[in-house]
Amino acid sequence: MTELLVKNAFVIDPLNGIRGEVMDIAVRDGWIVESVGDGAEVIDAAGCLTLPGGIDSHTHICGTKVNFGRYMMPEDMRAGRTQRRGVMHSTSGYSVPTTYGNSYRYCAMGYTSVLEGAMAPLEARHTHEEFAATPLQDTMANTLFDGNWPVMEAVRDGDVKRAAAIVAWTLAAVKGFAIKLTNPGGSECWGWGKNVHCIREMVPYFGVSPAEIIQTLIRANEMLRLPHSVHLHCNNLGVPGNYTCTIGSMDLAPDLNPDRQSLYLTHVQFHAYGGTSWKDICSKAEPVAYTVNRKPQITIDMGQMMFGKTTTMTADGPMEFNLYRLHHNKWSNHDVELETTSGIIPVYYSRTSVVNCVMWAIGLELALLVKNPWQCLLATDNPNGGPFIKYPEIIALLMSRRYREEELKTLAPGTHSRITLPSLDRELDWHDIAVMTRAGQARALGIRSIGKGHLAPGAEADIAIYPIRVDKTDPSRQYREVIQAFQKTAWTVKRGRPVARDGEILVPGVNKTIWARAKVREELDMGRDPEFARNFDRYYTVRMSNYPVQDVYLQRSLCMESEAQL
């Protein structure tokens, strides 16, 4: 038995209604309990801001395309190099660091759970191998279904149960966590070098539209009673004028689940553009946020863009090709048979580019215009909008109007008329930030039930103690202190163990992978479906028996089981 007592913590725990109280947190064997004995290890938080461990509900840190980003960019590795010391392996990389680099940096920022935003089922084993080398966070993987042939056939046939059954089989086979749709339908078109441009456009041969795929899978998702909702990367990412497509996609979502949203839209900054071309691009954060405000069944994340160098990587293959044609820099693409695609290019977001300045403003506008912080979570779509190490700056921008004004002064001329940010006075408070960086994520992902995102007895003891006194800091003025505090915890506690102190990693760590299995009736088990098996072995280049990810790949495995209602 190991016990830990975090004393004098200034706790904000939104899921339990704690908006800032000095209290002690008792921990036994990795879980938060009512009290511990006198022999417990003690951490004196000295009134510092103490939050549940951070959760990133959309990041790209593990798997085929992330690794390809590293592989193709030795120049990115020249930054962020650290030597092996103590329990820490050497690290390299700025926008796509090594797995250890990601893990240590997230840990230093108090993040203890992360969701990899896109995993191709066929290459799931790779994602899990990298999870195992990401020792200090619990991990989940969004599983891509945007161009899945059997799913599209079921959608075309109007057979939502079969679609659900295919999802259930695949998630369990590849130990995935949730349904991810990236540019639904577009990935199949990209197999021929084409794309879809509207949610009503038909996918060649399969005769389904993005809207039908989205609608069917939202219903399938709820029938399977999966912890998370459908996780959507809308069509037309990064295209001026795409906000209508985004709102159209939101309008497809019925309200089916009382505990969380029914549709999660990710990196919405990239999907809230007005105008008709790069020349007249402008912010449409207002109508998008307005739609979110009147639809409790929607949750979004910001997809904030931050200035500087980074790498874009997404399962949206055609979008990356368009970016390549724009920048003429290096471009990688990876299409995955029967399933999905992906692309990678390096980018530099510049304050001298009006387009980039508008993008920067839109993310912040979304967070400030969405009234309920539970509906707009903080993320950069790491590394697409910028590496996650920029989160502290984003927090400060949201908390300080003054900081935003300082930044607005540095933007390219011509930006202000295209954005609404200068007129927004709202300053988020500590509680809002706690919601947007952990509690909201736990609710949106449906992992509160396994003890994530809060600090009441019964919660898993993932705790972040930041070296900042809420009572002595005015974030509106002292935004530099806010940035500094969120960059490096005084302590990060993971599964009841102190794992980082002032940014130094203390233990090697072992990750835990959370995945979902919906139990379906035997006649809907695709593992026994002759047609499914026949087509599998005919069109895939691996045998169906070699497809599932073996248990051995999960060092610690947490399966969230549900009884499907099919």
Binding site: S90, W190, Y539, T541, S545, N546
Partner: protein, 429 residues
């Protein structure tokens, strides 16, 4: 006993439909495999136990002693080279990278004498790729450039291209055009609808000319480029542009000739250019079954796919400087750990000579030519036959190798972890 759907640990096609017959702890037959794969399963020339070279011959030594001595040699070395890795599974590769980091060594894989140049090219311009099923299901034009799949990847054509029917290509043999570029006729060029016969070393120029033609700037191209007529180049460019889906495969004919990675860069940029007209993808024909796996593992652990120098406690990468052939030819390393490869057979003699003057430890199931230079050899299980683990196909698809029998050998990963424990002082104490 028949083990079904076994994955072949020979080449990076990783065919996963083998049926392996096992009787009395031996493989007695293999169905579906090519000649190369069958031979690997059936080979029975394993070394029995660890051996050490003595003044006059070889002596058998206990495993324990072999491991301890290896650990001591690694620890004492000021510039150890840890080389090989493509013939073992990801778990061993991962242990190897950690070991290299621990001892401040250089870790390099057979990649450097195989598709290393492809990686250097990808690092300049990226890689428009796909999994092989995309090719099987969609491609109507396939290019094999500087490779001879009939000999190096015998089932590539039947599983993924010429003879592989797919969803949108119902009769592949009829519907799929094959273009082969080589300097000599081979069993693969015999199958070509178009054979581009070029002069040795002419790849860069020919690929550049094709790029110019596809861009509509063919007027600058002289009537003949490296032995290829302008007419044929125009014909090829047209065939490629009007394809519904084109797939470009290439091999050592590009990576090992003058210009090395610049040849591949030109091929990639040709594919990029064609992608403005129709769908094209490109795939390096990786050799060893898990050479790509090493690149993946090494990349997520260090940021670089191969040739990583940990001398300064952090990763430094510069092929040409931190690659095995260069380090050996310059006599830099003072110890060499060879895992799952045979540099003595595959490196130029000048590089091999240095192995004779430093301590060499080899982990390999079989006696091979590097054995001749080994102070110690530890025989291990064969990944994919009597050891399981992860391997990455040439297109990046990760598969779990089967263990079809148990012959009592330790696996590479286990030995490497044990060596690591010795050095960090954990383990046996």
């Amino acid at each position: 006993m028949i083990v079904r759907d076994v994955i072949c640990p020979f080449c990076a096609c990783l065919c996963d439909d083998l049926d392996v017959h096992v009787e009395d702890g031996r493989v007695t037959g293999v169905d579906n495999a090519c000649d190369l794969g069958s031979h690997k399963f059936m080979t029975d020339h394993r070394m029995k136990g660890p051996v050490r070279r003595t003044a006059s011959g070889w002596e058998e030594i206990p495993l324990e002693e072999a491991i301890r001595e290896t650990a001591e040699l690694l620890e004492a070395a000021e510039r150890p080279l840890l080389y090989g890795w493509s013939g073992t599974c990801g778990e061993a590769q991962s242990a190897g990278v950690h070991l290299a980091e621990l001892v401040g060594g250089v870790i390099d894989a057979t990649t450097s004498v195989c598709h290393g140049p492809s990686i250097l090219a990808i690092q300049e311009v990226g890689h428009p790729g796909c999994t092989l099923g995309q090719v099987k299901n969609r491609a109507d034009v396939v290019v094999y450039w500087g490779c001879n799949p009939q000999h190096a990847h015998p089932r590539h054509l039947s599983r993924y291209t010429t003879y592989a029917d797919g969803f949108f290509v119902r009769n592949a043999f009829k519907e799929r055009k094959v273009i082969v570029a080589d300097i000599r006729g081979t069993d693969s060029t015999n199958l070509a609808d178009e054979f581009i016969r070029l002069q040795p070393g002419g790849d860069y120029a020919v690929l550049g000319a094709l790029r110019a033609i596809v861009r509509g700037k063919g007027d600058v191209v002289p009537p003949e480029v490296a032995g290829v007529s302008r007419e044929q180049l125009y014909r090829i460019a047209d065939l490629c542009k009007t394809a519904k889906y084109g797939a470009f495969f290439f091999g050592m004919g590009l990576t090992q000739t003058a210009g090395k990675y610049k040849n591949i860069r030109n091929a990639i940029e040709l594919v990029d250019e064609l992608s403005r007209h129709t769908k094209w993808t490109l795939t390096p024909m990786r050799g060893h079954f898990n050479v790509y796996g090493f690149n993946e593992v090494c990349t997520w652990m260090t940021g670089y796919p191969y040739a990583v120098d940990f001398a300064r406690g952090m990763a430094f990468y510069n092929p040409g400087e931190t690659t095995a052939v260069d380090i050996l030819a310059r006599k830099e390393c003072d110890m060499c750990l060879v895992v799952a490869s045979d540099p003595a057979a595959h490196f130029p003699a000048e590089a091999v000579e240095h192995l004779a003057s430093i301590p060499v430890v080899q982990l390999d199931p079989f006696p091979n030519l590097t054995t001749a230079f080994a102070r110690i050899q530890i025989p291990v299980a064969v990944s994919g036959i009597d050891a399981d683990g992860t391997a990455y196909r040439m297109d990046g698809v990760p598969l779990r190798l089967h263990r079809v029998l148990d012959r009592g050998y330790p696996d590479d990963a286990g030995i490497l972890l044990e060596i690591t424990r010795r050095i960090t002082g954990g383990g046996s104490r």
